[in-house]
C-alpha cells in the first residue's frame, strides 16, 4: 500500500487535469451559448486533413458600404474592427471602424478580428469550420459552385469575436442581362 501522503498527491495529480478540462469545457460551452447570430457571405474553399481534424477554410466576402467600395482601398484584412449595419442575422453592409472609435450608434454590432490565433484564421479575413470528412467534401463542393452563395452563421460574442456555428447556402440571383 502506498503511503497516505503519496496517495493524496496522486489523487491531486489525477484530479487537477480532470477538473481543469471539465472547467474549460464548461466555460467554452457557456461562451458558445452567448451572443447574437449573424450571417456573413463567404467564398473560397480549402478542405484540410490535419491531425486536429477536418475543416473547411473560407474567406469572408464582406458586403461593403457604397462609399467604401468606390475608392477600392478598403481591405478588411487591415481593419481592426468592422461596423455592421443591418438587422440580425442579415448584414446589409460593413465599414471599417477606426481603433479610437468604440461605440457608434449607427452600428448594429461591431465585429473584431481575433489576434494571436491559428494561422488559418486571419483577423476579419478568413476562418475555418470543423466538419467531418464526408461533410467537409460536400461543403467544399458547394463553396466552389458559382450558382451558390455560401454564408457562415456566426455567433458574435459580447467582445465582438466571431464563432462559426454553421455553413449555409443560398442560390445566387441570375446575372442581369
Amino acid at each position: 500500500m502506498m503511503p497516505r501522503r503519496t496517495r493524496l498527491i496522486l489523487a491531486a495529480a489525477l484530479t487537477l487535469p480532470l477538473a481543469a478540462l471539465a472547467g474549460s469545457w464548461a466555460v467554452t460551452h457557456r461562451q458558445a451559448q452567448q451572443g447574437q447570430e449573424w450571417l456573413i457571405p463567404i467564398q473560397g474553399y480549402d478542405p484540410r486533413d490535419l491531425l486536429r481534424g477536418h475543416y473547411v477554410q473560407y474567406r469572408y466576402d464582406w458586403p461593403l458600404a457604397p462609399h467604401q467600395g468606390e475608392d477600392g482601398r478598403f481591405d478588411p484584412s487591415y481593419a481592426d474592427a468592422l461596423c455592421v449595419t443591418g438587422i440580425a442575422p442579415h448584414i446589409q453592409a460593413v465599414r471599417p471602424l477606426p481603433r479610437t472609435m468604440n461605440a457608434d450608434q449607427s452600428c448594429a454590432i461591431i465585429l473584431r478580428g481575433t489576434i494571436g490565433t491559428r494561422r488559418e484564421i486571419r483577423g476579419l479575413t478568413s476562418d475555418i469550420f470543423y466538419a467531418s470528412q464526408s461533410q467537409a467534401i460536400v461543403l467544399s463542393r458547394k463553396l466552389s459552385d458559382p450558382a451558390l452563395q455560401g454564408l457562415v452563421r456566426v455567433r458574435v460574442r459580447p467582445d465582438g469575436m466571431l464563432n462559426p456555428v454553421a455553413l449555409e447556402f443560398r442560390r445566387r440571383p441570375p446575372p442581369q442581362p
Partner: protein
C-alpha cells in the same frame, strides 16, 4: 526457464543438481500464466476495438456534447482505475506507465475535441502549454519509464517548437524582420533546465531511472539542437544566430553543466558537464563570427562540428560510453567527407574532383573504423 537449458548447464558442470532443482522450484513459484493472460488481453483488446468501431461508425451522428461526455467519462474512469491500482501498488511499472501515457494522451486530445465541437481555435502552443501545466505533476511525480519520459519531453519540445513558430509568424505579421534575440534566446532554454533539474533530482528521487532517462533525453536534445545550429550556420549564412541569443543559451548550458557536475560526481557526470561547457563555448563563439562566404564558411562550419563531436568522442572514452563514441566518430567522419565534396564543388563536373573525393571518403571511412576499433570503450559500460 526451460528444463532443457538447466539439464544442459548441469551436464556441462556449470551448476550442480541441487542448484538446478532450486532454480526449477523458484521458477515454478514465480512463473506467470502468460498463456492465460495473453488470451484475457486479446479478449479485452477485441472488446475495446469493437467499442471503438461502434462509436467511430456513428461518430458523426452523435451530438457534440455527448461525444465530449464520452471522452470525459473515459478519462474519469481511467483516472479512477489508475488511482485504485496505483495506490495499492499492485501494478507492474510498465502497466502503470501505460495507464499514465493513455490518460495524458486522452487529455491532450480533449483540447482538440473541444475545439471541433465548439468551433473554437487557438494557436497550437496554447493547448500544449495548458496540457504541460495540467499533466506535468502526474507524469513527473509518478512516471517510471521511457513512455512517460518520452511523452513529456515530446510535449515540451512540441510546445517550444509551436511557440517559436507562432512567435516568428507574429513578428513578420507586424513587419518586423529582425528577430527578437531575447525571445529566441529564452525559447531554447527548457532542455538545459530539464537536464540540470533531472540530474539534481536523480540522486534524491525513489525513481532514479526515470530522471536519468529525462536527463539523457534533454542532453541528446541539446546536442542535436547545437549540431543543427552549427550545420545551418555552415550552409546558410542567413540563419546566423544573434550573439545575445547565443549568450543566453550559453548561460543556460553553464547552469546545466554546474548542476550535473554537482549532482553526479562520477566519470559520466564529469564528462557530461564538460561536454555542455564545450557546447556553450562553441555555440557562443560561432555566433560572434562575422558572416563568412564560400570556402571559409565551409571550413569553419565543419571545424565547429568536428570540434563538438570530437569532444563527445573524447568524453565517451573518459566515461566509457561505447555507443556514443562510435556515433561521434561516425558523425565526424561524415562531416569531413561532406566537407571534401563542398570544397571540390568546382571540380565535381570534371570528374577528377569526384574521384579524389571518393578516394578521400574511403580513406576517412577506413580511418574511422580503425579508430573506433582501437579506442572504443569496452561493451557494457553505460552512462
Amino acid at each position: 526457464m526451460s528444463e532443457r537449458k538447466l539439464r544442459a548447464w548441469q551436464a556441462a558442470g556449470l551448476i550442480d543438481a541441487d542448484t538446478a532443482s532450486r532454480i526449477s522450484a523458484w521458477e515454478a513459484a514465480h512463473s506467470r500464466p502468460i498463456g492465460v493472460w495473453a488470451v484475457v488481453g486479446l479478449g479485452a483488446l477485441t472488446i475495446g476495438l469493437g467499442l471503438v468501431s461502434l462509436i467511430a461508425a456513428n461518430w458523426e451522428d452523435i451530438a457534440g456534447t455527448t461525444r465530449l461526455a464520452i471522452h470525459m467519462l473515459l478519462m474519469v474512469a481511467l483516472a479512477a482505475g489508475t488511482w485504485w491500482s496505483m495506490s495499492r501498488e499492485r501494478m507492474h511499472d510498465q502497466v502503470q506507465d501505460a495507464l499514465l501515457f493513455i490518460g495524458a494522451v486522452l487529455g491532450l486530445t480533449f483540447f482538440g475535441h473541444l475545439g471541433q465541437v465548439y468551433q473554437t481555435s487557438s494557436p497550437l502552443w496554447q493547448p500544449l502549454l495548458a496540457w504541460m501545466l495540467l499533466f506535468s505533476p502526474l507524469l513527473l511525480l509518478f512516471g517510471r519509464g521511457w513512455p512517460v519520459a518520452g511523452l513529456w519531453m515530446a510535449g515540451l519540445l512540441g510546445l517550444m517548437w509551436a511557440h517559436a513558430d507562432d512567435h516568428g509568424h507574429i513578428w513578420t505579421l507586424f513587419g518586423r524582420t529582425e528577430r527578437p534575440w531575447l525571445c529566441w534566446g529564452l525559447i531554447a532554454c527548457p532542455p538545459m533546465i530539464v537536464a540540470g533539474a533531472a540530474a539534481l533530482l536523480r540522486g534524491r528521487s525513489s525513481r532514479p531511472a526515470f530522471w536519468r532517462l529525462l536527463e539523457q533525453m534533454a542532453v541528446a536534445t541539446i546536442f542535436t539542437g547545437i549540431s543543427l545550429a552549427i550545420l545551418l550556420h555552415g550552409w546558410d549564412g542567413d540563419s546566423s544566430l544573434r550573439p545575445g541569443s547565443a549568450l543566453i543559451h550559453g548561460l543556460a548550458l553553464l547552469a546545466a553543466a554546474a548542476a550535473i557536475a554537482h549532482a553526479r560526481r562520477t566519470a559520466s557526470g564529469r564528462a557530461t558537464a564538460a561536454l555542455l561547457l564545450v557546447a556553450a563555448a562553441l555555440h557562443f563563439t560561432q555566433a560572434l563570427l562575422p558572416n563568412l562566404h564560400g570556402t571559409a564558411r565551409a571550413w569553419t562550419g565543419s571545424l565547429f562540428f568536428c570540434l563538438l563531436w570530437g569532444a563527445v568522442a573524447a568524453a565517451a572514452i573518459h566515461a566509457g560510453w561505447r555507443r556514443l563514441f562510435q556515433l561521434a566518430v561516425t558523425l565526424v567522419a561524415l562531416r569531413i567527407i561532406i566537407l571534401s565534396f563542398e570544397l571540390n564543388d568546382d571540380l565535381l563536373g570534371s570528374g577528377v574532383g569526384l574521384i579524389l573525393s571518393g578516394l578521400f571518403a574511403m580513406a576517412v571511412a577506413w580511418g574511422t573504423i580503425r579508430l573506433s576499433r582501437r579506442y572504443a570503450p569496452a561493451r557494457g559500460d553505460m552512462a
